[in-house]
């Protein structure tokens, strides 16, 4: 076991973990930040997506030892002042969520996109969430919700 001070959502979390543990396992099991989901645990489904220094990464295949001195943002860090982020609001209002398992990963990928590109095209939105597999929605309402959150025209 090693000791880690992890910068997550603007707070510092102190925890002990094995260096080979995944960031996802530490988030969920040690820190009880269970918003990030474990879908496949092998970097294929995207439901564990978090931001590392502003870039979307798959926390299930990222070792906790690689996260030292970096800023992690999880879905729990998105709401401001208790209010859900506009992406969260639009996903909820427009039917972008069905079973909800892919949702935190989709939202984090979308958040990363909008930070870099505030007014993306539909193709850019679809490319940004291509690593987040959704089995429920057929993506249409997710794309609509992200267009609404970006304030771009909805098809």
């Amino acid at each position: 076991m090693e000791h880690y001070s992890l910068k997550i959502n603007g707070n510092v979390y102190e925890t002990d973990a094995e260096p080979f543990e995944s960031l996802l396992d530490v988030l969920r099991e040690k820190l009880r930040l269970t918003g990030s989901k474990k879908g496949c645990d092998e970097g294929e489904c995207g439901s564990c997506t978090v931001l590392l220094d502003g870039k979307p990464v798959l926390s299930c295949i990222l070792l906790v030892s690689d996260v030292r001195e970096k800023e992690v943002l999880t879905i729990e860090g998105l709401p401001q002042g208790g209010e859900p982020h506009p992406i969260q609001v639009e996903m909820t209002e427009r039917g972008g969520i069905q079973c909800g398992y892919c949702t935190p990963g989709i939202i984090m990928s979308a958040y990363a996109l909008l930070q870099e590109n505030p007014r993306p095209s539909e193709d850019e939105i679809r490319f940004a969430i291509a690593g987040n597999i959704c089995r429920c929605t057929g993506y249409s309402k997710i794309v609509e919700a992200l267009q609404a959150a970006a304030g771009t025209p909805i098809r």
Binding site: C40, E42, E44, C45, R94, G95, I97, Q98, C99, G100, I125, R126, F127, I129, A130, G131, N132, I133, C134, R135, C136, T137, G138, Y139, S140, K141, I142, V143, R155
Partner: protein
């Protein structure tokens, strides 16, 4: 690099519920607290399809309560009666009626008490959005919460339950003829594809789905189910296959068993057709699984329209399509 486009149509019908004399039961409890909060204990399990929302909508409409005052407790074996699985596109169709019955009886109890409060007949009263009205009047005479409080004060019953049996007769055991299901869903989809004749890659450009929903109780949820179903149809047509090698799964991860991504699923335009179904709640019937069925034939027909070749094995992978094109080229039957 040559790309050819084609359009295809697929149509289907689908038996709603379990049919074939299999148990197909819905049931729910309902109660109204003295502050007007209505709780529905519904056995139907929501895995994202939206049945909890449908249950709340049906209860609100029938009781006459405001949707925000409905609380749904779902699929909890300690408190909800059995409503069977959420499968076979049966949840709205079967459980919707059970909730309708429970809510209707609760509504009657409330109107009975309100009639006593206002010295009229209960048939002269109606309720909507949480208020009680003399039929046709613009101003309410009481809130449902006041009536519910009165029922509680008098020690009356402010609760009910509903049960619905959607089981059907079986078909003839010798001829398999008969009317197996309580109702049938209908859907037609169009797909437009682009086939790359150098690589065999098929891209679906657009899907339009016309689905008979009976009555769309929640149009956003209906569209979501149709779009999700069509996306599965895209996967079935082009990507997904389970490969066993001497009993050992070779497609045992999402990197090999390909589920379509946001780049693979096109715009899916939904046309909801509403043909009232007398057996469903407010005329509604199941739509979710039906939406999956016509997508694959529509895509395969669109491939045929594009390149003049029938692909008869799914998924229509680039390898299969390319091989079929090469064979047609060898026979001199393919125009590049």
């Amino acid at each position: 690099m040559t790309k050819k486009r084609g359009l295809g149509v697929g149509s289907m019908f689908y038996g709603i519920g379990y049919g074939f004399n299999r148990a197909d039961i819905g049931s729910a409890y309902i109660e109204m607290a003295d502050d007007g909060t209505t709780t529905v204990y519904s056995g139907a399990c929501d895995m994202g399809q939206g049945i909890m929302t449908v249950v709340a909508q049906v209860a609100a409409e029938v009781v006459g309560a405001h949707i925000d005052t409905i609380r749904v407790v779902a699929a909890d074996t300690t408190s909800t009666p059995d409503a069977g699985p959420t499968s076979g596109s049966r949840a709205t169709f079967v459980q919707g009626i059970a909730v309708h019955e429970a809510a209707s009886d609760l509504h009657d109890q409330l109107m009975q008490t309100a009639a006593g409060m206002f010295e009229c007949e209960k048939d002269e009263l109606e309720a909507h959005n949480g208020d009680v009205y003399l039929k046709g009047a613009n101003a309410p005479i009481a809130s449902l919460a006041e009536v519910a409080a009165r029922v509680h004060l008098l020690g009356g019953r402010c609760a009910s339950w509903g049960w619905h049996d959607n089981s059907t007769a079986d078909v003839d055991p010798e001829t398999s003829q008969g009317d197996a299901y309580a109702s049938y869903g209908w859907a037609t989809q169009l797909a437009e594809v682009e086939v790359d004749t150098e690589t065999g890659h098929v891209k679906v450009l657009k899907i339009v789905s016309a689905t008979d929903a009976g009555k769309a109780i929640n149009p956003v949820a209906v569209e979501g189910q149709i779009q999700g179903g069509a996306a599965m149809g895209v996967g079935y047509a082009l990507y997904e296959q389970h490969i066993l090698d001497q009993g050992v799964p070779r497609t045992d991860s999402m990197a090999f068993y390909l589920v379509p991504t946001s780049m693979d699923v096109p715009e899916i335009q939904c046309e909801i057709v509403e043909v009232f179904d007398p057996k469903g709640p407010f005329g509604a019937k199941g739509i979710a699984e039906p939406a999956t069925v016509p997508t694959t034939p529509a895509i395969l027909n669109a491939i045929y329209d594009a390149i003049g070749i029938r692909i008869t094995d799914t998924p229509a992978t680039p390898e299969r399509v390319f091989q079929a094109i090469q064979e047609a080229r060898a026979r001199g039957e393919f125009e590049d």
